[in-house]
């Protein structure tokens, strides 16, 4: 074979390897438990999704994928998902790089359904991509649990087979406003700024009237383009309006840059809460600029969900404790899980619980089981709307709020600051 052909084949192989990935757990010939007379039958459960290995959502999406893969590992170690009829399902995931692009998502979900013939689907990360995927899964009459997408609008389309694990975007900054007013009731002027994307827009669409209903004066209410890197003139404008607080943001890149430039400009707002970015552990790379920034989070390692909280809510507890999840995640990946990681794992748990409840992989039975789910996980409570217009929308999960604070050792660390009964530290005003 000519050397050029060898190189060409190698390049094609490398490209193919970069485009797709499969995590196949060590197939277990026989389940580890059983007890029933019927011999257990081990079946592969093919789960498909896309993730953003490149593009704007890469950081958060990687965390979500890690969460999903950890769930696959744990289920495999436990001997698979055991159904009542003795069938043992061994999950394996098939995923492709969607490059953070909606058109790629739609092409790849079509491929997952028609060519790869996966059994079930999980979602990509971010509301825009989830919406794109949901259109395809609905068109094909397939079920999808969304691991990371909070946009309200997506879940108000009357979809039948899309189930949202995240608390919807409209809840994201409501608690931050409550926290802010509890912390400093003298705060009157607030600037609400957001990335102009579907998710962030839905967040501020709820936050803005809520702020006004609390008597706050919204002195700036503006969106900025995705991909903005220079916020300096915008910050001058915000500063000129003299806000006591700034809330909003968008995703990781813009939120991190915005927080850094707020710090560089010495903007003296007493309270700053930003979406998505602060909840990502690498947010601390911006140093002192991260201090005092509050972030809404779907979940934090300090969360206190347990069998007791489940009992108090009169729902069953399912899966690992928050500490077990965190320890396993750190052991596998060497870094703290973010809420995107927890969303990935929780989506797997929701699918697992529904399969166990349904006792079957039959889509109709599984859908009925998903509709009935009301469960407490390490991630918090999960229950879906059954209303025709908002079917599948998350209605039980609550946000928590974290803040970057300096410990006595001078190092930055996140603290859970809201709700008060779950707080690990008192929230602090910016100085």
């Amino acid at each position: 074979m000519r050397p050029t052909r060898i190189v060409a084949i190698a390049i094609v192989g490398l490209v193919a390897a970069a485009c797709g990935g499969t995590t196949t757990p060590q197939a277990s010939g026989a389940p580890t438990s059983g007890g029933s007379a019927a011999p257990a039958v081990s079946k592969a459960l093919n789960i498909g999704f896309t993730n953003s290995q490149t593009g704007a959502q890469q950081v958060a999406s990687t965390k979500q994928t890690e969460g999903i893969k950890l769930w696959v590992d744990q289920v495999t170690k436990a001997g698979g998902i055991k159904l009542k009829d003795g069938t043992v399902l061994m999950p394996q995931v098939k995923f492709y790089d969607d490059e953070s692009k909606t058109d790629r998502v739609q092409a790849l979900y079509t491929r997952l359904i028609n060519d790869d013939k996966v059994d079930f689907l999980l979602s990509p990360y971010s509301s825009g991509l989830v919406k794109a995927a949901a259109v395809i899964t609905e068109q094909n009459g397939r079920l999808m649990v969304t691991a990371g997408g909070a946009d309200d609008v997506t879940m108000e389309q009357g979809f039948k087979g899309v189930y949202q694990v995240y608390a919807p975007g409209s809840k994201y900054l409501i608690g931050a406003i409550d926290l802010m007013l509890k912390l400093d009731p003298t705060i009157k002027k607030v600037a609400i700024v957001n990335e102009k994307d579907s998710f962030s827009a839905s967040v501020v669409a709820a936050a803005n009237p809520y702020a006004k209903s609390k008597g706050l004066d919204v002195v700036v209410a503006e969106g900025y383009d995705t991909g903005t890197t220079d916020f300096n003139p915008f910050i001058n404008k915000i500063q000129a309006a003299g806000p006591d607080a700034i809330i909003g943001g968008g995703h990781f890149e813009d939120g991190t840059t915005f927080a850094k430039q707020l710090f560089d400009k010495r903007v003296n707002a007493r309270f700053v809460a930003l979406l998505v970015a602060p909840a990502e552990p690498t947010f601390k790379d911006i140093g002192d600029a991260a201090q005092f920034i509050v972030g809404p989070s779907q979940w934090e390692p300090a969360a206190k969900y347990s069998a007791e909280t489940a009992k108090a809510a009169n729902v069953p507890y399912f899966g690992p404790t928050p500490k077990e999840f965190t320890d396993r995640y750190v052991a596998k990946y060497g870094s703290q899980p973010s809420y995107q990681s927890s969303g990935g794992y929780a989506a797997g748990l929701v699918l697992q619980k529904a399969l166990e409840d349904a006792g079957s992989t039959d889509p109709q039975k599984l859908q009925a089981a998903l509709d009935k789910i009301d469960v407490m996980l390490f991630y918090g409570r999960v229950k879906f709307s059954l209303d025709a217009k908002t079917h599948g929308k998350q209605i039980a999960h609550d946000m928590v709020y974290m803040q970057w604070q300096k410990g006595s050792d001078g190092k930055l660390a996140t603290q859970l600051v809201w709700p008060q009964d779950a707080a690990t530290a008192q929230a602090q005003l910016r100085k």
């Binding site: 593009g55 915008f234 001058n236 000129a240």
Partner: protein
């Protein structure tokens, strides 16, 4: 409307405009000399960012020495791009060279994405700030302005004061006549492409000291560069610098008066208006 924000925003915009101008000078120089629309401009800007990042984070080299290194790497890399992608099609229609440089764009983005992923990076540098009367001038921005001005001056010194620079201009004015005078036009074209790439990488290197970036970040500045070169005059480096300042100033000032999301709309409106009403740009094409 908040006039209080006008002065600091105008200063912020103007300062950034120098860096925009430097990037656009690279694009316009290449077009002016060889009529090539260089679509590898954006990824090359991103490579300038990564050059500084890698040199400072891996080898502990001062970011501003990294800027100098990025310029040298840019010169060599641009010459390489010229011989690999442009030289053979230099006399083909403009669409061919445009597609050739677009291929380079895709290759850099592809390889860069594999090597660096698209995770945001930033260069750890803090030079303090001058503060007063509502104006904050960050040290990194001030140094970026100084370096951009020095780089622009060096380009002019080279083009107008050196023999080789005059040869580059001769090739730009009339390649056939320059060849008849014994000038090796192929070498001059390669050199011009190298200098254009060096300017783009230098601007990227400076931007890395100001903002976080990914391998995809060059795209934004590439688009701005196109607006700027049309504004200043295609092929006119002075026009590019002036265009950069105008766009920087507009970005800063418009933000004060209109919702920030509308600012890019106005930029591209200017682009369209200039193409329709004054295609030669503010200072005319090819000085």
């Amino acid at each position: 409307m908040s006039l209080e924000a006008l002065l600091p925003s105008a200063i912020d915009g103007l300062m950034l405009g120098f860096v925009y101008g430097l990037a656009a000078m690279g694009l316009t120089l290449i077009f002016g000399v060889m009529k090539v629309i260089n679509l590898s401009h954006g990824p090359v800007i991103a490579l300038g960012m990564f050059a500084v990042f890698l040199l400072s984070s891996s080898f502990g080299i001062n970011p501003y020495l990294g800027v100098l290194a990025a310029a040298v790497i840019g010169l060599l890399f641009g010459t390489l791009i010229y011989f690999v992608a442009v030289d053979r099609v230099i006399n083909a229609p403009e669409l061919t060279t445009l597609l050739a440089t677009f291929s380079v764009n895709l290759m850099i983005i592809g390889v860069g994405t594999v090597l660096f992923t698209t995770s945001p990076r930033s260069v750890d540098i803090d030079l303090g700030a001058l503060r007063g009367s509502g104006v904050t001038i960050l040290g990194t921005h001030a140094v970026a302005v100084v370096i951009a001005v020095l780089a622009a001056a060096a380009l002019y010194g080279f083009l107008f004061r050196t023999r080789v620079g005059k040869q580059v201009r001769a090739v730009a004015n009339n390649r056939a006549a320059a060849e008849l005078m014994g000038i090796d036009s192929r070498r001059m074209l390669a050199l011009a492409f190298g200098i254009g790439t060096a300017l783009a990488m230098t601007s990227g290197a400076l931007l890395s000291t100001l903002f976080a970036f990914t391998i995809l970040s060059g795209g934004t500045y590439e688009l701005k560069s196109f607006v700027i070169v049309v504004l200043g005059g295609l092929g006119n480096p002075t026009g590019a610098l002036v265009g950069g300042l105008v766009i920087g100033l507009l970005e800063g000032v418009l933000t004060v008066f209109i919702p920030v999301a509308w600012v890019p709309v106005f930029e591209y409106l200017i682009f369209l208006v200039m193409l329709q009403l004054r295609p030669a740009g503010l200072l005319g094409s090819r000085a």
